[in-house]
């Protein structure tokens, strides 16, 4: 599996791993919401990811969040499922380098 190397400010070294850990929890919550056909969870989590990801240095999380929020607003479950898979894949491959 090809790694995705992300360079992050050393100021954020204490909290960046926790941020990634929380996104793993998001993946679980999103899968559960998809099963229950609940669009509120992807809307809220998408909005949060959009607002926080790039601030930590994870631009891809912001992009996924932006698309997920839009998909949830449009009631597009298929896109939410694809974006959840994209997030899961990203989390599995991301490797943090602190500068």
């Amino acid at each position: 599996m090809e790694k995705i190397v992300v360079h992050i400010d050393s100021d954020l070294e204490d909290i960046a791993p926790g941020y990634i850990e929380n996104r793993h929890k998001d993946v679980a919550a999103l899968k559960e919401a998809l099963t229950a056909n609940d669009l509120e969870v992807p809307k809220v989590l998408g909005h949060r990811m959009k607002g926080s990801g790039a601030g930590y240095g994870f631009d891809e999380v912001t992009e996924i969040g932006r698309r997920m929020e839009e998909a949830a607003k449009a009631g597009d479950g298929q896109s939410i499922e694809a974006l959840t898979a994209r997030l899961e894949d990203y989390l599995a491959r991301v490797e943090i380098v602190y500068d």
């Binding site: 400010d9 100021d11 959009k50 607002g51 926080s52 601030g55």
Partner: protein, 247 residues
């Protein structure tokens, strides 16, 4: 922790709260966090807060309404955060009394710079306006501005809340009555050498100040707009025992 500025971060996203509290604490601030309007009020009721970092999209009460209510009860500076990021949100945020606006996502270093900048702005004056202006009191059109306490009193003696930025702007006008001041001059005088990313923010502040002074924006008597030139403060101003702006 005496001596540390106390920042209150209001955001419903726990990751943002964690990131900002960690980052700001590392940089010498005392930080409290809240997830909604109720939490914000609880912290404010407990003690002094030097600056509020406020997210716009909160569960329950909207951040813009919270900002407006906050401004009505206190002059604590507010920096708004929002993932909405629309220009209209930015304008409304500034109109509601925010001192600065930062769209999400943001690097915490940028927020830190803005927090420091706002605190500096509301607490100090550029060098050429220091000293005497810091303590002077003013009277104009039956209004009264106390320099030391930064309190504004209306003609009927009611105290009118002013944000730090509004106070600074009013004091600039009071020091230059009956003289046209361009937007650039107002920005320069209010912020010294700092640059402002929002060109229209000075207009927003003038608009807010007019409201504080009960000056009808359609037909203002105190702060008049001079087309293509800027603004002029139209009043006889008494600064301490001296009458200003009288030829």
């Amino acid at each position: 922790m005496p001596g540390k500025d106390h920042i209150l971060v209001v955001d419903d996203d726990p990751d943002i709260r964690r990131q900002l509290s960690g980052y700001l604490e590392k940089n010498g601030f005392k930080v409290s966090v809240a997830g909604d309007g109720r939490g914000l009020r609880a912290v404010l009721d407990k003690g002094r807060v030097d600056l509020v970092v406020l997210d716009l999209m909160l569960p329950g009460e909207d951040g813009l309404i919270l900002c407006r209510n906050l401004r009505a009860r206190s002059d604590v500076p507010v920096v708004i955060l929002s993932a909405r990021g629309e220009q209209m949100d930015r304008i409304i945020g500034l109109e509601m009394g925010a001192d600065d606006y930062l769209p999400k996502p943001f690097h915490p270093r940028e927020l830190l710079a803005r927090v420091k900048s706002v605190l500096r702005r509301v607490r100090s004056f550029p060098n050429h306006l220091m000293s005497e202006e810091e303590t002077a009191s003013y009277r104009f059109s039956d209004w009264h501005l106390e320099g030391v306490s930064r309190k504004l009193y209306s003609p009927d003696g009611k105290q009118v809340p002013l944000s730090g930025s509004e106070f600074i702007l009013l004091r600039i006008f009071l020091n230059h009555p009956n003289r046209v001041l361009s937007r650039e001059q107002l920005v320069e005088m209010s912020r010294g050498r700092e640059t402002d990313p929002f060109d229209r923010s000075i207009d927003m502040q003038v608009s807010r100040l007019r409201r504080r002074l009960e000056d009808d924006p359609k037909n203002p008597l105190l702060i008049k707009t001079v087309r293509s030139a800027g603004y002029v403060f139209c009043a006889r101003v008494q600064k301490g025992g001296t009458l200003l702006g009288v030829e």
